[in-house]
Subunit: 242 residues, 6 copies
Amino acid sequence: MHIRVVNPNTTRAMTDTIEQCARAVAGPDTLLDAVTSEMGPASIESHYDEALSVPGLLAAIRRGEADGVDGYVLACFGDPGLDAARELAGGPVIGIAEAAMHTAAHVGRGFSVVTTLARTVGRAADLAERYGMRRFCRGIHACEIPVLALDTDPDARKIVIEACREAVEADGSDVIVLGCAGMADLCAQVRAEVGVPVVDGVAAATLTVQSLLTLGLRKSGRGEFAAPPPKPYTGALRSFGA
Amino acid sequence: MHIRVVNPNTTRAMTDTIEQCARAVAGPDTLLDAVTSEMGPASIESHYDEALSVPGLLAAIRRGEADGVDGYVLACFGDPGLDAARELAGGPVIGIAEAAMHTAAHVGRGFSVVTTLARTVGRAADLAERYGMRRFCRGIHACEIPVLALDTDPDARKIVIEACREAVEADGSDVIVLGCAGMADLCAQVRAEVGVPVVDGVAAATLTVQSLLTLGLRKSGRGEFAAPPPKPYTGALRSFGA
Amino acid sequence: MHIRVVNPNTTRAMTDTIEQCARAVAGPDTLLDAVTSEMGPASIESHYDEALSVPGLLAAIRRGEADGVDGYVLACFGDPGLDAARELAGGPVIGIAEAAMHTAAHVGRGFSVVTTLARTVGRAADLAERYGMRRFCRGIHACEIPVLALDTDPDARKIVIEACREAVEADGSDVIVLGCAGMADLCAQVRAEVGVPVVDGVAAATLTVQSLLTLGLRKSGRGEFAAPPPKPYTGALRSFGA
Amino acid sequence: MHIRVVNPNTTRAMTDTIEQCARAVAGPDTLLDAVTSEMGPASIESHYDEALSVPGLLAAIRRGEADGVDGYVLACFGDPGLDAARELAGGPVIGIAEAAMHTAAHVGRGFSVVTTLARTVGRAADLAERYGMRRFCRGIHACEIPVLALDTDPDARKIVIEACREAVEADGSDVIVLGCAGMADLCAQVRAEVGVPVVDGVAAATLTVQSLLTLGLRKSGRGEFAAPPPKPYTGALRSFGA
Amino acid sequence: MHIRVVNPNTTRAMTDTIEQCARAVAGPDTLLDAVTSEMGPASIESHYDEALSVPGLLAAIRRGEADGVDGYVLACFGDPGLDAARELAGGPVIGIAEAAMHTAAHVGRGFSVVTTLARTVGRAADLAERYGMRRFCRGIHACEIPVLALDTDPDARKIVIEACREAVEADGSDVIVLGCAGMADLCAQVRAEVGVPVVDGVAAATLTVQSLLTLGLRKSGRGEFAAPPPKPYTGALRSFGA
Amino acid sequence: MHIRVVNPNTTRAMTDTIEQCARAVAGPDTLLDAVTSEMGPASIESHYDEALSVPGLLAAIRRGEADGVDGYVLACFGDPGLDAARELAGGPVIGIAEAAMHTAAHVGRGFSVVTTLARTVGRAADLAERYGMRRFCRGIHACEIPVLALDTDPDARKIVIEACREAVEADGSDVIVLGCAGMADLCAQVRAEVGVPVVDGVAAATLTVQSLLTLGLRKSGRGEFAAPPPKPYTGALRSFGA
């Protein structure tokens, strides 16, 4: 069983953190690897970045299909290009926001999302609605740390933990969802300090894909997620066409 | 990692089928067992049956806690007593309707539920709403086979498969959810004949519990799902009190 | 016209208060009595208590049917076992949360619920949604008084009244719903002190049942609420089976 | 206890039918009368008619207040001018669509509305949403009989009964709501022939008002439904101003 | 292309302000005029006022049809009588709340409405829902200035601007909707001082009608908005009948 | 006032049709031009195509900003990249699905969308929800004509018209929305043959942008739609970075 985690930004160091978090939970029979997008933004902090991360992501999925990958984790909390990736892949493709929200709904009454920049709050809210998780999502809170500063800012951990503590109080929630792939390694510490279950989407999505594969479930090819009709593509994206 | 599947009806033969389906997907490090409720209805086909299956289910959870069980699968598609079981258990408790619907949402655009008696359709609809899955649930269809006849009626398989085929057409759905624990062993055959992913809640819930445990996620003890306040109980249920 | 109020907890003193409140509003031609559950919890303050109050409640309904009772009030704000009771009864069965919320919606723009323990807030929210009353329900507030202390704690009245006053301000609501059968006798006093209509579910449900009977309306027997199919029951609940 | 039923159209014969249906359910201590609007349309079959029935309705409420009326039934299924009437009255004002839908929700899983002209279906749908009853309202069906023909067309009864029968089948519903005050006297016959509970809003609203008065509940005067600020009115409506 | 703005209150000075704001945006080929209702309230600040403004509004539409008017703006933020006006008119009829909310949704993520009296907040919320704009409407705030004082109270501008500033902060919104036709001339100043787009419904509705006419779109005559069936009308409203 | 219509596919012939339809409604003072994307798919018929049309679209917006364009129409019914385009542009950016649905809501009770391939129905449904238009959208129907065949298949017109006629009947709708930019020139003919208002999104969006500019409304720069934070981009998309 081969699962590939795709980091849709181009920052290899972040891929490394993500890969470790995914490996830590994958089963002994699972071959897990992680790849970094080869084109697009260094981090995803706007609708613009998100949209422009999708070609690199789709290229990674295409390579994955050639490599015989069975299922994919899409490791950015905006779940960019999820529908398109599903069309392209034969097996399951799971976004980390998708997996994190579903997982959080299993263990509590309502969760709070703690994310990076305030400008991404709207996207998280849209995803909560898309996944049917609006009834569980009690609040989405930004700590205004840029994605790449999560690793470099010495205060980042402290600020994230404090934001989680405040979110639980403000929302009356009983679970925390970490709203960025770059927070994956904070999971245990936040849990210890805030005292509620904390869900990291990278680990959650890895196990979701593994479970789907164990169940023999591939993405449905009936209708909307069937392989896209091939056609000519032009310009810098020529290689994506038929 | 010890997972216990609780069959909340009192029919041991059904527990056996359920246990096989759960074992077939559990990981090599998972200790999985299944228990049959010791009081209540032989099958669950009404709100009355469902309500009266809960004491037996809760007794099973209590025994599980004494046995050091880490997480529970609640193996009836009405997910009876789920909130109460969560209060009682320290670890995760997952209903098979809950797991099946969440799982189906990961692999398609919209699912159809195929269940036993028409009078249970309302309960399935209530659960779809509770879990946020109403946007994915395109229809709920009864095949009017009583639960215990799934095993004994020689036409049962054929009827269920036909109902699944019709449901996919009528609803424009791309995934099937089997709406009864007693259908768990039909999963592969329906998939083969109808040609869309088919989700059995028993297997799905087993892997959901296993994933939550791997993630170190227990039910949240903050607020609503904290252990219930102990108090005197009276009459036939005396043993449930403090 | 014979209406029976069923207190699904086992505390007779609470039944007495409830019966008085129900009698105070019943019409001259209505025979009204109240019964206490013969098994289960002394008070209902968790999903666990609620689930385990249902067998006693259903036994009471069964006795009621034998006694020729025409309709039932289910006197706990969690409306436990309502669907199952409807299957069992020929006439109407109304929960006090159900009646209180519907009634409040008739006299104002939006109501606040004031209840006992914070851990029951989620259940009240679920019921508001089930009854279609989420658009009228502006907030649910706990005053953290255990159910049985409503009668014994000398500060209880003061605390409830203060919670009602604050709820109206915080929610911008114009009606109060008292969220516990044990608060039934506080109704007039809260109204006098807070200055908005106050709805007690016991009285509201009594009149709802009386009105349904006057209209000749019994629970619908078509489909979901038809009598449950009889079948063998096992163990401590054997007597509930066929 | 003085309840007044206001027929907001100007057809006295229809008021007589309505009054009989209301009287048949009112309690022995209830003084019940019915009045016909003194201005506006002979029947209400469009948004235009509905809007123009409101001045006559409000004039009737004003007279009612002068007469010491305690509560009002608004006897047109479009519930015209309900909010305005609530501002004007001190006691409860209940529309027959409001009462019928709430009442139907108490006795079944889902109701079908059978109304007169197809062009009024949208209004009924809007009301179902406003009252939170969309989850119970499974369909709204027109039988294309004009309001005043309900009494004069010899086939009217047969057509309405047939439409009810078809509605229950098509919607999978278990209760019928009659969608016009002029159908009030068909209630028993439809019930007998279709075999499900049938709700007439005139009777339902009469008992709702009576119950609210028994509970001591007047419309909330806090906020939106406080008496309207007096001011000059001009032209044909001059008498409505201060 | 002849567009008529109807002020449904009877205060001519307010019509003048409204007309100026509408003219300022109408195209060079648009004939735009504004009329004042000839009966009803001097200002609209309650459901009562709103209901009683409708006959005057409908009379104005009828005159408009006789004058060959192509489309109408309904210049009161409660959008009174919109459905009835649509039945009567051949061309488009647009309410200013309708136009303002739709317009605001095009330029931001979520808007705040700032209106006059708190008692009108409920109506604005109802309209947001009716138009599908609840997901964009983040809050509705009253500044407690009566409609006619907007022009005469020397502090009115300052209070409205302050309310807008606070609304944006409190709601996390990025657009302001002015909730009263009488605020139309404050638009530019609020925008300058608060720093977000500000939408005045009068101007927005004028351009919406003009666009619909340019697109050749009239109100749909199929079904609900077909011309109302003619019938006798009685009393002070006799002239509205056939 | 300079409005630019961006065709996000790379088929110039389709841009020409679109430009004509836009010009036909733009005002005399509006400078309108249309551009074809310089990279990506020849037509947009899958999530994959849609995602990969966004870089070309964003490049067009960037050029537009350099050219001093005031507002943009995004001429594909999937409204690809709308949020990202809003971040990039200073003025309004309107998608044709967005404009068409809002416009249709102004003239009828409920609309039907008629689109090209069945696999795009899900995207249209997602957009209806996003724009708050789900309550107006009664159905989405595919006629299974590929986008580029709309112009070349001699039966295309007939098939589209027939699909529109059937949609109105099946949905009980009173307005048609054409679900593809390539259908823009069918608008008048469908209206003539089906007899209800028909909305083409290209024309509707052109007038929406023009109206927003006349109102002085730019996209809100507060929060989510502020300019994206500049950062390094890698690989084939390097030129999109800072």
